[in-house]
């Protein structure tokens, strides 16, 4: 096997989640206008404030322009040719899975996310979002005992309107950017988590997003609020069938951490990335932001981005509370014709705030992988500290890796460190490992595994396993 073949077989595992489930849909007509937005709001039985929020966002969106600054290239998206609401016809009953279309349950089973009570993942509560709606949320009763609210955002809008009204759009304003505005106008579902004061969430919370409908976009919205002294670890997974058309995924995630609260948000993104020639795949245009509103609070983003034709996302932290901590750990893998422009923003406002950025980009094929990050230190952020590491690994000679670090400091007591490296998987490294007896494929896996280790160790166990599999890396246990 030549060097290139071995590399290819490691980074180009066939997409295993590309099947489509046959279900009957309740689709809205294509296109976007105020009537469609009213229909979405009405279909979901939303209170008036939500409709107002949507309409305001829509009117803002109409005045905005799609950003062109990311280092990605794609034909213009026809926003009037997208179905903005697509729900499987059989409506699920809230507390029972009996009413969920068996084909959908089977879909999640195939994805390794069983929703049946007897087969539930150990100690992980799952909210399953299928196209535009949440079809099931597991372990709700157990979480409720601890006072934790974990439900679809649609239910939350109806059942906890005060909390939603207070927090939605408070971190990512409806007019924040083009895609956030679009999401605010048309979001259809997503997850809501509320961890009350002093509660450490007793299990991992997880949302599993699945786009099934070829013609629809997915616009989900996630809101997580950790009250004083609360803590939670949240996981997000995503897959989609293989279609030759591009599909739009424009999500918004907002995190709020009050005094001494801690939120850990992990993503393994495996949307369909298109075929070898760049046909099809998801446009993943996502706005994720958290605010450490309280003192000593902490928000940590870990992302493993292995899919999507185009990724545009910058999970960020606003460090408002004194002594608060923001972290960003990222592995972004691109192959074939994939394009990724991803990174983070750490906005230091409070005193002695600290942030860490560890970004690992792996580019193969003819892909383009950019890190874009901003570290901003406000005037009052005395003693703020940032440490950033951006490493890029190139596989082959037709791909690109780029780093765009931006630093803005308005406070002379701040300390900012930035390290960046670019390496190529070298013939010498591979030869060294082969000389020790490892075959070429294992040698490459081991090198990549080593490269991403710093990020993968931040992932919760279940996800680390999935992510490791995704990179086709053989981890033979870590004892020794």
């Amino acid at each position: 096997m030549s060097e290139t073949d071995a590399l290819d077989s490691v980074v180009s595992q066939p997409y295993k989640y590309g099947f489509k489930t046959e279900v009957e849909y309740d689709d809205f007509p294509r296109g976007l206008n105020e009537d469609i937005i009213r229909m979405i709001s009405q279909r979901k039985g939303e209170p008036d404030f939500m409709l107002e929020f949507r309409l305001k966002a829509y009117r803002n969106w109409l005045t905005m322009k799609e950003p062109t600054w990311p280092n990605v290239d794609y034909p213009p998206v026809d926003y009037n040719n997208i179905i903005y609401y697509s729900a499987p016809k059989k409506k699920p009953k809230l507390d029972s899975l009996d009413e969920v279309d068996p084909a959908i349950l089977e879909t999640y089973e195939k994805l390794g996310i069983p929703l049946h009570e007897q087969k539930l993942l150990q100690n992980v509560a799952v909210d399953a979002v299928f196209d535009s709606v949440s079809v099931a949320t597991t372990f709700r009763a157990k979480l409720a005992e601890a006072g934790v609210i974990f439900c679809s955002i649609s239910e939350a809008v109806k059942d906890y309107p005060d909390l939603i009204k207070k927090y939605i759009g408070s971190v990512v304003p409806a007019n924040d950017n083009y895609f956030a505005a679009l999401n605010s106008a048309v979001f259809t579902d997503g997850s809501f988590c509320y961890i009350p004061k002093g509660v450490a969430c007793p299990m991992e919370l997880s949302t599993y997003f699945r786009i099934n409908n070829e013609e629809s976009g997915q616009f989900e919205r996630t809101l997580i609020v950790a009250e004083e002294g609360a803590s939670v670890s949240y996981l997000e997974g995503c897959t989609a069938p293989m279609f030759s058309k591009n599909q739009l995924h424009a999500a918004v995630v907002e995190l709020v951490a009050l005094d001494n609260a801690e939120i850990k948000y992990s993503t393994v993104q495996n949307w369909y990335s298109g075929d070898k020639n760049g046909v099809g795949g998801i446009y993943n245009f996502v706005t994720k932001r958290g605010i450490c509103r309280g003192v000593n609070s902490k928000i940590s983003w870990t992302q493993v981005e292995t899919g999507s034709a185009i990724t545009w996302k910058y999970p960020s932290v606003i460090l408002q509370g004194d002594n608060s901590i923001g972290e960003f750990y990222s592995v972004a893998v691109t192959n074939d014709k994939m394009q990724a422009d991803t990174g983070t923003k750490m906005i230091h406002l409070g005193k002695n705030t600290r942030s860490t950025i560890i970004s690992k980009g792996i580019s193969a094929g003819q892909s383009n992988n950019s890190y874009r990050g901003l570290v901003k230190i406000g005037k009052k952020a005395d003693g703020a500290r940032n440490y950033s590491v951006c490493d890029s690994m190139l596989i082959g000679d037709q791909c690109g890796a780029h780093t765009f670090p931006y630093i803005e400091s308005a406070n002379s007591t701040a300390s900012i460190e930035h390290e960046a490296t670019t390496s190529k998987i070298g013939e010498d490294q591979i030869f060294y490992l082969q000389q020790r007896g490892l075959d070429e494929e294992n040698a490459v896996s081991l090198i990549i595994n080593g490269f991403v280790k710093e990020v993968f160790k931040e992932l919760p166990m279940e996800f680390a396993v999935e992510a490791t599999k995704l990179l086709s890396i053989k981890l033979e246990g870590s004892v020794g």
Binding site: F431, Q435, R436, G437, L438, D439, N442, L446, G480
Partner: protein, 248 residues
């Protein structure tokens, strides 16, 4: 064990080895000496199977099998080990992980059961003393941030763990201070045995004060120009490579 017959090899179209003949039997230590650019390191890389080098003529027989077309990993699993002149850094991969995977790959090849991480841990700890290495080295990334001496000791540790039949030591003594040289040499001496062959590539005579060669060969411009016993090394030391005359 190793028979090299009329070996010609080139890299990027430039011929480096121009007809090497050499036989190493089990239990023998052969020192390959020569000036810079003579092809000493190339010879060890070609025997180990570095993909950048092309064998254009001749044979490399290992235990009777021509290995010239085999991949480096296949040769390694047959029992050929190369201690690198410049050991490669592999960030994020722990020493013990690499050694266990390599050791188990070799065991699999021979139909032996693999060691689990705990069993391997016991096994590898016993080898640490050979090169006076702290167990902490096992958890560190392969050669990452190691000093020159630590890297060379690490090569010998790997050799002790993988227990090869043929050891190719490529300038293992270069860049070592006298203590490190002693430690590395002691390690090699303890590993070598009547069933192993050693090819020791070196520019200097000093490592041969610690490891006694059975044969010394002088390489010049891709050919072995002189062979002799251990006294040849001393001769070279006093006269220099320039003085060695062509023997054919």
């Amino acid at each position: 064990m190793l028979q090299i017959k009329n070996l010609h090899a080139s890299v990027d179209g430039i011929e480096i080895l121009k007809g090497i003949n050499l036989e190493i039997k089990a239990g023998e230590v052969h020192a390959i000496m020569g000036p810079n650019g003579s092809g000493k390191s190339t010879l060890s890389k070609v025997v180990a199977g570095h993909p950048a080098y092309e064998v254009t003529q001749g044979e490399i027989l290992f235990e009777g099998t021509d290995i010239a077309e085999l991949d480096a990993d296949e040769r390694a699993r047959m029992g050929i080990f190369l201690a690198f002149q410049y050991p490669v850094e592999i960030p994020g991969v722990s020493n013990s992980m690499l050694m266990r995977q390599a050791y188990n790959a070799i065991r699999r090849e021979h139909g032996e059961e693999e060691l689990d991480p705990l069993e391997f841990d016991d096994y590898v700890h016993k080898k640490l003393d050979l090169v006076e290495m702290d167990p902490k080295f096992l958890d560190r990334s392969v050669n990452d941030g190691f000093s020159g001496g630590e890297k060379k000791r690490n090569e010998i540790l790997q050799m002790a763990v993988l227990n090869p039949k043929l050891a190719l030591l490529d300038e293992t003594d270069s860049g070592l201070d006298i203590d490190a040289l002693r430690i590395v040499s002691n390690g090699i001496n303890q590993i070598k045995s009547s069933d192993k062959g050693v090819m020791l590539v070196t520019h200097y005579q000093r490592i041969l004060n610690y490891i006694t060669p059975d044969y010394v060969h002088v390489l010049k411009a891709g050919r072995i120009v002189k062979s002799g016993g251990k006294e040849l090394a001393l001769e070279l030391e006093s006269q220099g490579y320039e003085e060695v005359e062509e023997i054919r």
